[in-house]
């Protein structure tokens, strides 16, 4: 049997797509990127075993005709680890969404404060003084500078119809009493 060109091409494509997604700020894309990278690495491990052959251990053929079983054992371990980590990442993303209505990689406020040389503490900052993308997590309800709270409420109701607006005690009916 001859080596195949399909595996390297697929591995390369998966790595490229995975890295592209990993560089995004949105956490769901980061997760998808991680999954692609994990699969690319598993394929890489698979291809390290050389060309495919008969099933090993069962005694179906001569040693030269068998597949290498070790990479498959490694892949199995790697798949389990990737699975566990993905589940945890999903939980963290969901938690981030519940807490702050955002699922992007947040800004380190203290870092920005030190960089700007401000003497106030991070929790003394008025978030409205910051550029929208620099706002700390927790500003999911900011839709514009000049809106009143009531208008913001209505906009939020339109945009997130039927979704409770924060991780707080709300009645079990969606959106609370009308």
């Amino acid at each position: 049997m001859t080596p195949t060109v399909v595996l390297p091409v697929v591995i390369g494509g998966l790595y490229a797509a995975g890295i592209y997604l990993l560089l995004d700020r949105s956490l769901t894309r980061v997760l998808l990127g991680f999954l692609l990278l994990g699969n690319a690495t598993n394929l890489l491990l698979l291809s390290t075993g050389g060309v495919a052959g008969l099933a090993p251990i069962l005694g179906l053929g001569e040693p030269g005709e068998l597949s290498d079983p070790l990479p498959q054992a490694l892949i199995l371990t790697a798949i389990v680890i990737t699975f566990g980590v993905s589940a945890f990442l999903l939980a963290v993303i969901y938690r981030s969404w519940r807490l702050v209505r955002q699922e992007v990689v947040g800004v380190d406020e203290e870092d920005r404060r030190v960089a700007a040389g401000r003497r106030t503490d991070a929790d003394d900052l008025d978030p409205d003084d910051l550029a929208p993308e620099d706002r700390p997590a927790g500003h999911g309800d900011h839709l514009g500078r000049d809106l009143s709270d009531a208008q913001v409420e209505r906009l939020l109701d339109q945009r997130f119809a039927g979704i409770a607006s924060d991780d707080v005690e709300l009645p079990s009916t969606q959106g609370g009493p009308r």
């Binding site: 945890f88 702050v100 406020e109 927790g138 009531a150 409420e153 607006s165 009308r178």
Partner: protein
């Protein structure tokens, strides 16, 4: 019973005991007292086993244990040599101390915030992962060890799930995942080019590869390990993610996790790729790590962030020693690892105490701590001076050993690094004395009680005014054009409450609101936490007193590392399997 039989019986225990202990701790999760007892007993046993292993390894040399009875290179081996045994002893001792601190903190707080039933099992799993990484004689087992400890660390760094911790945890998780994937891909390439993942066999086979292939494999492994060890330019994640975690978690992370990366770098550079092809690159990386890290520390105004940056900075010293690739350099690096694990953990524990006492870790908010709590001041001062390298403390001895090794190397780059090391030491002193002068030495600007009362009043006033404003807002909503549905007032009140909660935790406070922490500050510090921290400070002093024997041990370990035959003979006996 011979020494090697004892070692074979004991070697798997530092991994097995914490894992079994974690299972037991999960089972008794409803009984906090039993759970604490289980964790403490297990970790004490691990410390005892590690000490025995170290004594045997130092007396008898390296031993390998084939797990499950499969002979190498087919089976997985655990290798106990002087380096791994020493790392085990230091790591398990620190873990035990931090756990005792956490128990003290938990009982003092009434466990209001920490989900206790998950903390202890996860902590034990973390210890199992660290032990597995130190003992692994197989590249893939090293990867598994890393994954075990990382998985546990993901849970610990997001403990409680508050907004700042989730934010910091996400950075940490994504960066760690990337490094794990690079490591796994490197393992695949290593296997493709050599047909084995057993490290002793790799030590023989990798040398026979073309130099270009060797360079590729070495750089991939080094990149993965340098991310874990936080070597510049792969260090930016650390000061971003460590400061928000609870004090015991940050302490154990700062002490152990980066050092596991350093340990893996030592193995890569000495056992797998002794040719020294990338030593110059590592030298420059070490210099950049030291300088960039410490300049970051000088700029910060929060104690935990200062400590995180000094942690990055002092990783540079260890990388410097490894890059020298001489016996003196490696001995200095290993000694510095042991010293730095102890000292950095101690300082983070002290930072936890400062937060309890002063209600904040921002140096601008603190003041007069030396008068209010002289014992705490001593507990900070001694390790801070040790970190900066004031003679005769162990930090001085470690730095002196590394600088002497650099001078003995004699190269131009080595001299630049010696100068960089001295500058870094001085800047560490600057950063530490700024913390001392502002948080401890300067007089408190206000009387603490007055401050607390005023803060509480201001806080209450703000809350009242906000709540007063709410009906007005509802009224304003009614004034909107007709036909628009009235926004649900209750929902907005809930959001306002959530916003207050969020802003309260935005400064990485341990729990609830920083103002609430201020009222707590008048209580005396819990005795258990103080005692544990004092024991840690005493341990760092013991490192100074026992520096002679310890340096002898690290010197012998460095000799083994450069010789490589003790490791190969331990795995394969007299006949090396090619």
């Amino acid at each position: 019973m011979t020494g090697s039989a004892v070692t074979s019986a004991l070697a798997p225990l530092p991994v097995l005991l914490p894992l079994l202990g974690a299972a037991a701790a999960l089972l008794v999760g409803r009984h906090p007292r039993t759970q604490r007892a289980v964790s403490l007993v297990v970790l004490t046993a691990v410390v005892a086993v590690s000490v025995v292993l170290l004594l045997w390894a130092d007396a008898q040399g390296a031993t390998a244990v084939a797990v499950g009875g499969w002979t190498p290179p087919l089976g997985i081996v655990l290798v106990v040599d002087r380096l791994s045994a020493l790392m085990l002893v230091v790591a398990s001792t620190v873990a035990l101390g931090v756990l005792a601190f956490a128990v003290g903190q938990g009982s003092a707080d009434g466990d209001e915030e920490t989900p206790l039933s998950i903390f202890h099992p996860t902590f034990l799993v973390l210890v199992a992962g660290v032990s597995n990484a130190f003992l692994a004689g197989d590249l893939f087992n090293l990867y598994v060890g890393f994954e075990i400890l990382l998985m546990a660390s993901y849970v610990l760094i997001t403990l409680g799930g508050t907004a700042p911790r989730i934010r910091a945890g996400i950075t940490y998780i994504v960066v760690s995942l990337t490094s794990s994937l690079i490591f796994l891909a490197a393992i695949g390439l290593v296997y493709a080019s050599t047909g084995t993942v057993n490290m002793a066999q790799l030590a023989v086979r990798l040398g026979e590869l073309p130099s270009g292939t060797q360079l590729l494999l070495q750089s991939m492994l080094l990149i993965a390990f340098c991310i874990k060890a936080a070597v510049f330019p792969l260090s930016a994640w650390l000061p971003d993610s460590y400061p928000t975690a609870p004090a015991p978690v940050t302490a154990v992370f700062a002490g152990l996790l980066t050092k596991v990366g350093i340990y893996a770098i030592i193995r890569t550079q000495t056992l797998l790729f002794p040719s020294g092809a990338l030593d110059d690159v590592l030298m420059w990386a070490a210099l950049a790590t030291m300088l960039v890290g410490i300049l970051g520390a000088v700029a910060q105004t929060d104690i935990r962030r200062i400590l995180s940056f000094t942690l990055v900075s002092h990783i540079g010293y260890m990388v410097f020693g490894i890059a020298l690739a001489s016996r003196a350099g490696l001995a200095g690096a290993v000694f510095y690892v042991a010293h730095h694990i102890a000292i950095q953990t101690t300082l983070f524990l002290v930072a936890g105490l400062v937060e309890r006492q002063g209600g904040s870790t921002a140096v601008d908010r603190l003041g007069g701590l030396a008068r209010r709590s002289p014992l705490l001041a001593v507990l900070f001062f001694v390790p801070a001076m040790n970190l900066a390298g004031i003679p005769p403390l162990s930090g001085f001895i470690g730095k002196l050993g590394l600088l002497q090794a650099g001078v003995a190397d004699g190269g131009a780059v080595a001299y630049v690094l010696v100068a960089g090391g001295v500058v870094t030491s001085l800047l560490t002193l600057v950063a530490m004395s700024r913390v001392w002068a502002r948080a401890f030495w300067r007089p408190p600007t206000q009387e603490p009680a007055d401050d607390t009362a005023r803060a509480a009043a201001a806080d209450a006033g703000e809350r009242n005014s906000r709540e007063d404003a709410e009906p007005a807002l509802v009224g304003a909503g009614a004034d909107e054009p007709a036909g628009a549905p009235e926004p649900p007032a209750r929902r907005r009140a809930a959001r306002a409450a959530a916003w207050r909660r969020h802003t309260a935790v935005a400064t990485a406070a341990e729990s609830g609101a920083p103002r609430a922490a201020k009222t707590r500050a008048l209580r005396p510090l819990p005795a258990v936490m103080l005692t544990v921290t004092a024991v840690f400070v005493a341990l760092t002093l013991a490192l100074t007193v026992l520096a002679g024997p310890l340096y002898g041990l690290t010197d012998r370990a460095a000799g083994d590392l450069l010789d490589r035959t003790p490791y190969l003979e331990a795995v394969f006996g007299d006949e090396v399997v090619r």
